[in-house]
């Protein structure tokens, strides 16, 4: 069942949300962004818990934006799980089917089936308040799935769990979602989580979607300085475009003029504000790259797999990684280079 959201708008005194997004049948799309970017509000709009000012929501080709939440057939997993404290595990899971007036025997079978799916077989009579965080999360997922929803919404479902559990549960959520072929919208502020389990990611910022794409596209080819800065580690340097020929451009920065690649189809005019972007991994300690920068090592961090350096050059601080463990003393001068094909130009200046 596909979800199509057309220019959905909602205004608050200090905030405005304006989004369009489509999720294909069986697809898992993640809304990724910092807190306050409007991703949870967007989820609540889709769920019908908030009414939009304008726009359309279609589910399976049918408009649902006038349909009340209780008739939308949407499963929601809440950040705090929202398990009913006065019901046991089985009663929680049976709540949705019960509301649909399924026959008793069918509900019983369904509860059993779901508990098996989330690997909590035999937990029927447990009190939900006595379950661990991970178990509560599984019950919440089972409850949302029980009445066969047409769309599954997950609102930061793992944020209350510890790191280890988060990783194993996200894999399990993905397994179940794929197994059921369920159209899913997943909200998170954790970029690693988004990269790991999504078919596509929609990066949100200030109430708008900045970029939508596969995890690989989002990471490799960020469309804006915000996306480049939010996903993974990055170096951003403000500049002005000197010239652009096809996919090759030149940028003037405070540290000199450098060549860099442009996004396909983007034709900026010379003089436009742009940002030079490259990943720490792309930096080389020789001077074979076209983009050459000299500075002073300000910090050195040993991270086990690699060494991470911060290099100050003028007003800018660059992040570099290296496999070489010795050397790199803070205070030392350091020159590094990046090849032009690893450098990308992005529209506008980096967010402060």
């Amino acid at each position: 069942m596909s979800l199509v959201v057309e220019t959905l708008q909602k205004s608050y005194p200090d905030f405005e949300i304006d989004v369009a997004l489509s999720v294909g049948a069986g697809e898992l799309v993640t809304l990724l962004g910092p807190s306050g970017c409007g991703k949870t509000t967007f989820l609540r709009l889709v769920a019908g818990l908030i009414r939009p000012d304008r726009g359309q929501i279609q589910l399976g080709g049918r408009r649902v934006d006038q349909v009340p939440t209780e008739e939308r057939e949407i499963g929601i997993v809440f950040q705090d799980y929202a398990l009913f404290p006065h019901m046991n595990v089985a009663e929680n899971i049976a709540f949705g089917p019960h509301m649909k007036n399924w026959p008793r025997e069918r509900i019983r079978r369904r509860v059993k089936e779901l508990l098996k799916l989330v690997q909590l077989a035999g937990y029927e009579k447990r009190k939900v308040t006595l379950l661990s965080g991970g178990e509560q999360q599984r019950v919440a997922l089972a409850r949302a799935l029980a009445p066969n929803p047409r769309l599954l919404l997950l609102d930061e479902p793992l944020s209350a769990l510890d790191a280890r559990l988060r990783k194993s549960l996200r894999a399990e959520i993905r397994r179940i979602q794929l197994q059921l072929g369920l159209t899913t919208l997943y909200v998170t502020h954790d970029q690693e989580e988004a990269l790991a389990l999504s078919d596509r990611i929609a990066v949100m910022h200030g109430g708008r979607i900045e970029q939508t794409g596969t995890p690989r596209e989002i990471y490799r080819l960020p469309a804006t300085p915000f996306v480049a800065g939010f996903i993974g580690q990055s170096n951003l340097l403000a500049g002005t475009l000197l010239e652009a020929k096809g996919r090759n451009g030149r940028v003037r920065t405070a540290l000199g003029d450098f060549p860099a690649r442009l996004r396909e189809g983007w034709k900026p005019a010379p003089g436009e504000a742009v940002t030079l972007f490259f990943r720490p991994r792309s930096c080389r300690s020789d001077n074979k790259g076209e983009v050459r920068i000299s500075g002073v090592i300000s910090t050195r961090e040993y991270l086990g797999e690699e060494i991470q350096l911060r290099v100050r050059a003028g007003e800018n601080l660059f992040l570099l990684t290296s496999d070489r463990e010795d050397g790199w003393t803070p205070g030392e001068a350091l020159s590094f280079s990046v090849s032009a094909r690893d450098c990308r130009l992005l529209p506008g200046h980096p967010p402060r």
Partner: protein, 563 residues
Amino acid sequence: MRSPGIWALRGHHLLLLLLILIFLGLFFYYPLITVLHGGIRGTEQRFSVQPLISLLADSYYRRIILFTFTQALLSTVLAVLFGLPGAYLLARFRFPGKRLVRALTTIPFVLPSILVVLGFVLFFGNNGILNRALMSLLHLDEPPLRVLYSLKAILLAHAFYNFPICIRIVSGLWSRINPHLEEAARSLGARGWRLFRRVTLPQIMPGVLASAALIFIFCFMSFAVVLVLGGGPRYATLEVEVYRLAKVGLDLGAASRLAAIGSLLTLLFLYVYIKLQQRASFAETAGAGWELRPLSALFGKAGALAALAVLVYLVLMVVVVLAPMLSVVYFSFLRRFGWAGQTHLSLHWYRMLLGGSLSGVSYLRAIRNSLIYGGLTVLCALPLGTAIAYLTGRKQFFGRHGLETLAMLPMGVSTIILGLGYLKLAPVFRLTGGRAGIVAAHTVIAYPFVIRAVSSMVRKISPSLPEAARSLGANPRRLFFKIELPLLKPGILAGAAFAFAISLGEINATLMLYKPSLISIPVAIYRLISSYNFFAACAMGSLLMLTSLLAFIVIDRIGEGVF
């Protein structure tokens, strides 16, 4: 970012709101305004503050107002001073019997004032248990403590009756403040008195002030304690004087003028209390709780003296609260033959409850009336209080805060004045003269407590619970009955217990509306005390205590932390 849009009131909620407003208007605001109006109406039936001014010019009334204020202030200071150590012990230590001590802090809200009066007379009276014990212990011929029928008696009774409020509010806040703050201060070198004054005190101060304001209001509006223990016009407060003017002097005009002044003052105090309470509830709360230390940790450094002080304090606290109550029970089983004869154990007074009447008081009628009042009060106050708590807590709508204020205002108006309002309306409103009037008054007095009990549950419900239920297909009706109502149940039960206990112990408004056929248990006790029939009063009192105790247990068991 929650939008009020979808929660805006729909049809049946609007109807509910309308019913609430009609009830409050009819049974609280109309009588109150009638009293105020009567107070500021000149002889030419025109509005004028002249009558109020001439009342204030009268030194007799000025003295009453001043006395009311002074006794409330002194009582408050005593109650807070007596309560603070308890708040500290309760917030920071664990010790055997802590549950009992904590439970005792509900007492001021549940224990009928007439029982406090009765217990006080029996225990602290000139011929009371304490004096007799001291006389036989110290071989004295005269009772050493003479507190009855004086300002001392009023202050002591108020302090003993109200200090648990201070313990309750302050210890609640104290245990919620972030322990890291004190740890940080200690790491920066603060300790002892300076640590307390610079770091701890500023944080518990909102609680101290809020509890002081509440105690002050209670003492300012206190009626039965002053009426009986004051023992005469010398120690009349506003409330007592309004009662005398209305019921003895039959001067409703003067009563209204005095009542108007009293109401304006108490509403002002209520405003102060609400402001202070908001500050107390905004105080920082921490995820990490205090690690409760055993009491012995306190003795470690200061040694035996501290141990003794704590022990004396705890014993005194329990004695002061429980001994008067136990005296009531003890005396109810006593019977004396002749004026100076020996007393001996007897069930005489309980047998009397089943039949006879004494000093013109019919026991059985009083019990029956009280049960009817209590039952009907629960039936009225419960839906009213629950509806208000539900609407103000779960719904976002225009005027929500206004409704909250309108609904909490009765807490700031004395029940004597409410009774006076009903009395003045009796000719208009046939209803307010009889039983229905008493039930209406009790409902108005009790429902704010229902609101408090239910609101505490409403606040505990995470907003995502109803949203989850709706996403699973629950329509508003099923959402209410399957999710919201079951989650509110503990609060509703506690509210019912409150309402019943309050109705059963209520004496002020009942006395204002009193007719022999309308007698209730507290009024019967009052009349028996007035005719010096203490043993019979005690039998009646024990019965009242038993019902209060049941309510108290219900509140204690389910009032808090069910989930």
